[in-house]
Amino acid sequence: MLRLEAVSVAYGGLRALDGVSLDVAAGELVAVVGPNGAGKSTLFRAISGTVVPHAGRIAFDGADLLARPAHARAHLGIAHVPEGRRVFPSLTVQENLEMGGATAAGRAARAELFARIFALFPILAERRGQAAGTLSGGQQQMLAIGRALASAPRLLLLDEPSMGLSPAMAEAIFDAVRALRAEGGLTILLVEQRVGDALAACDRGYVLEGGRVVLHGAPAELAPERLRHAYLGV
């Protein structure tokens, strides 16, 4: 469904991604792990279009994604839940979800999608009329995921959904990710700092370090000692 071939991104002279190749098949949950500054968020930004690679190809359903402007990619079925949640603070919960649901697919199935979002995160239904900026961090994360789901995506990019949350809240968010996976029909690319949980839940994993893929494969192949090497260099 998604294929990156030798994608390189540089900020100024700084190399953030260096020839990254990655495949995601329909229905898979693929985890991307790696230390801070490994290029995980840049990888997501390259897919959703807010950074432009200087080399490489990105194909989504066989179509050349780099030929599409960033704002058009949501309409192709790619929903990006950015790091740090980034809900629209002055808009209400309901309006945030409506903005997410402004794609053609989202409009067509709005009632159904909203019902599914509210079933997954009942607190959002209670807080519909509240400004998103006044929600707690965990609730904002739920809203950010809900906003992405409202677009009826086929590919969900989840960037550090548990970052900055209390352990209990992080667990709740992770449960929601597992539930989404269990529902099926959705392809998920996940960046997560809780490496153990991420690898336990995924079909395949990629380890990114210094902008390169240093390791990839089924969770079993990503043995702890090799991971430790990638993270700690020992």
Partner: protein, 313 residues
């Protein structure tokens, strides 16, 4: 005593009428500065262009079969599509180069210089084309008034200039239309989303460059319409914009940055203070009174009347 009450009522009415027009000009700037965070020094000059355009359109319309009384108002409203188009083009060709996903101080400095340049070009262009003599729309309504007897005695009367009153009512209607557009429609919500977080807005499929262009064009159009309504009461000359641009910024800040309806009340406050101050202060101190009150209000409410307490991400 009765004479003072009559004066006070008269000043209050004048303040309300001026406040409605100031309010509308502030709403225009609120879209550009309050929401899209573009520092626009040319906003007053867009208004000046609207004033000239409305006088010209009124002269053309006068030859058609429209009733005399209606021409200045139709002319003012017709300014909107012209300046919307001009604003959209200006944004696409120039302003957009200073905005985009990368905001911050560098963008603001570039906007400052750019819009100051646009202001100078508009002012001096108007000087070349229109000359320096003030012009206004001559309408039968601008010299006639509704006389409302004040009931507390037999002779005190409130005079409401008909041209100004209808202008103020239209200003309120246009402002209400803008509130509805921003608050209730999908387009308005997408503009607010793009202002809140341009990157996240891109992720939900909003074309942020287009959203900015629409907001800028709408702000320009509103400035033009406000100018068109203003020119019935306030003659236009090429540098009239500088009189107003400071009032606009004060109104937007007073109302609370980011709040479009707040900006209207900010402008209204300025109109009221300006007119009511003439009861106790010499006319020349009008604007001094405005800024004294401005400072006082911000001392007690730094975020303005309707400022968002929510931190913008």
């Amino acid at each position: 005593m009765n004479a003072f009450v009559e004066q006070a009522v008269q000043a209050l009415a004048a303040g309300l009428l001026a406040g409605c027009l100031y309010g509308l000009t502030c709403v225009g700037l609120a879209l550009i500065f309050g929401i899209m965070r573009v520092i626009n020094f040319a906003q007053g000059d867009f208004m000046m262009v609207g004033m000239y355009l409305a006088t010209g359109l009124a002269a053309v319309l006068a030859r058609l079969a429209l009733p005399d009384a209606a021409t200045p108002f139709v002319a003012a409203l017709l300014v909107a599509p012209v300046l919307f188009t001009a604003g959209a083009l200006l944004h696409r060709l120039l302003i957009a180069r200073t905005t985009g996903l990368r905001g911050g101080t560098a963008a603001h400095q570039a906007q400052l210089v750019l819009t100051l340049g646009i202001a100078l070009v508009l002012q001096n262009g108007a000087l070349i084309v229109m000359g320096s003599a003030p012009v206004s729309i001559v309408s039968p309504l601008s010299s006639s008034a509704w006389e409302i007897p004040l009931r507390y005695d037999a002779f005190s009367t409130l005079f409401l200039n008909q041209g100004r009153t209808i202008g103020a009512v239209l200003a309120v209607l246009v402002a209400l239309a803008v509130f509805w557009l921003i608050g209730r429609t999908e387009l308005g919500k997408s503009l607010r989303a793009a202002a809140d977080d341009p990157e996240a807005a891109t992720y939900v499929g909003i074309d942020v460059a287009r959203a900015h262009r629409i907001a800028f064009a709408a702000g320009t159009a509103i400035a033009g319409v406000a100018g068109g309504l203003m020119v019935l009461a306030y003659p236009v000359q090429p540098f009239v914009g500088t009189d107003f641009v400071i009032i606009m910024y004060a109104g937007v800040v007073l109302g609370g940055i980011g709040s479009v309806s707040g900006a209207f009340w900010g402008g209204m406050t300025i109109g009221l203070v300006q007119q009511l101050s003439t009861l106790v202060l010499p006319l020349q101190l009008q604007n001094a009174a405005v800024f004294a009150v401005f400072v006082l209000i911000l001392l007690f409410r730094p975020q303005g009347f309707f400022g968002l307490n929510v931190e913008r991400a």
